[in-house]
Subunit: 194 residues, 2 copies
C-alpha cells in the first residue's frame, strides 16, 4: 500500500464519514467504521485529525463549500427576483445531486456533541440567512417584493426549503426534488413577488 498525503487522506476520511452518516445516521459514525471504509487502521485516522470532533468540523466545512457555490450562482442572476429564485432552486439542485448532504443537514445530534460544533453550525446558518437578507432587501428596494417584514419572509423561505427536503428524505428520495422545488417556487412567486 502506498502512503498518501494528509490532505488526500483528510478528503477521503470526510467523504466516507458523510457516506456513513447517510447510510446509518450519526450513530453509525465511528472511527472504526471510517477506518474500515478508508481502508486504513483506526490509529491512522488520528494522523490526519485531532479527534472525532475535528472530523465533524471537517464535515461542516464541506457545507461551507456549498455556500461558495450558492454565492457564485446567485451573483450570475440579474434581477433581485431572479436571485430569490436561484437561491431556492440552487438548494434543491445541489441536494438532488448530493443527497448524502441532506443527512448531514439533519443530523442534529452531531452538532449537539460540543459547543464548538454548535457554534460552527449557527455560524453557517447565520451566513446563509445573511445572504438571503441582502437579496430580499434588494428586491424590496427595487419594488419586486411584497411589503412585509423581511425577517419573517426569511423564515418562510428557509423553513419551506427545509421541510421539503425533509419530506424528500422521509420518502426515501422517491420524487424529483427539483420538480417539487419548482412548483413550490411558483406558489412562493405568487405570494411574495409583485
Amino acid at each position: 500500500m502506498s502512503r498518501l498525503t494528509t490532505e488526500e487522506r483528510q478528503t477521503m476520511i470526510i467523504d466516507e464519514a458523510i457516506k456513513i452518516i447517510h447510510s446509518g445516521g450519526y450513530e453509525a459514525l465511528s472511527i472504526r467504521e471510517i477506518a474500515k471504509q478508508v481502508k486504513i487502521s483506526e490509529p491512522a485516522i488520528y494522523r490526519h485529525f485531532l479527534n472525532k470532533e475535528d472530523i465533524i468540523l471537517g464535515i461542516l466545512n464541506r457545507m461551507l463549500e456549498f455556500d461558495k457555490l450558492l454565492n457564485k450562482n446567485i451573483a450570475a442572476a440579474k434581477s433581485a427576483k431572479q436571485k430569490i429564485r436561484q437561491f431556492v432552486l440552487f438548494h434543491f439542485e445541489f441536494l438532488e445531486n448530493n443527497p448524502e448532504m441532506t443527512s448531514v443537514l439533519f443530523s442534529e445530534e452531531m452538532y449537539n456533541q460540543s459547543e464548538i460544533l454548535k457554534k460552527k453550525l449557527v455560524f453557517i446558518i447565520q451566513k446563509r440567512k445573511q445572504l438571503l437578507k441582502v437579496i430580499l432587501d434588494d428586491a424590496k428596494n427595487s419594488g419586486e417584493l411584497i411589503d412585509v417584514d423581511n425577517f419573517e419572509l426569511m423564515s418562510i423561505i428557509l423553513g419551506t426549503i427545509r421541510i421539503i427536503v425533509m419530506e424528500w428524505r422521509l420518502s426515501n428520495f422517491s420524487f424529483q426534488l427539483t420538480d417539487r422545488g419548482k412548483s413550490m417556487l411558483k406558489i412562493l412567486d405568487k405570494l411574495i413577488l409583485l
Copy 2:
C-alpha cells in the same frame, strides 16, 4: 422503597427519558441514565418496557397526546380562518410550555433506530398534515383562503412553524416563542388569507 405500578413507572420513565434527551440529546439517552434519574436499577426498567425501542415508542405516543389537544383546540374555533390561526398558535403555545418536547421533535437520530420507529414518526407527521389539509380545504371552500395549491401551502405553514421552533432552540430559548409566532402569523395572514 415502596413499589409502584407499571403504569406509574412507565410514566416516570418516559418523563425522565424526555428530560434526558432535552439536556443531552438522544446520544445521552441510555438505560443507565434513565434508571439513575428514576432511581431504580437498570434491570427494573425492563419490567416496564420490552427494550429501548419500546421506550422511544412511548415517547412518540406522548407526541400523539399533543395531537389530541391540538384537535380539541381547533374544534373550538369558529371560522376556517380562526382554525388556521389556532393551528399555528397552538403549536407555539404548547412548545413554549413544554420546551423539552422540541428536543424530541428534532432528535432525528432517534427515529432512525428502526423501521418501526420511522413508520410511527411518518404516521404522526401524516396525521398532523391531514388535520391541516382539512382546515385548508374548508377555508378555500368558504372563500377565506388564497387560491393556490393547498399541498404547497401545507409545506409553507408546517415548514415555517418548524424553522421558527428550530431557531428558538438554537438561541437556547432566549425569546418568547408565542410572540415570534404571532408576528409570523400576521405575515402569513397577509400572504394567504383573503
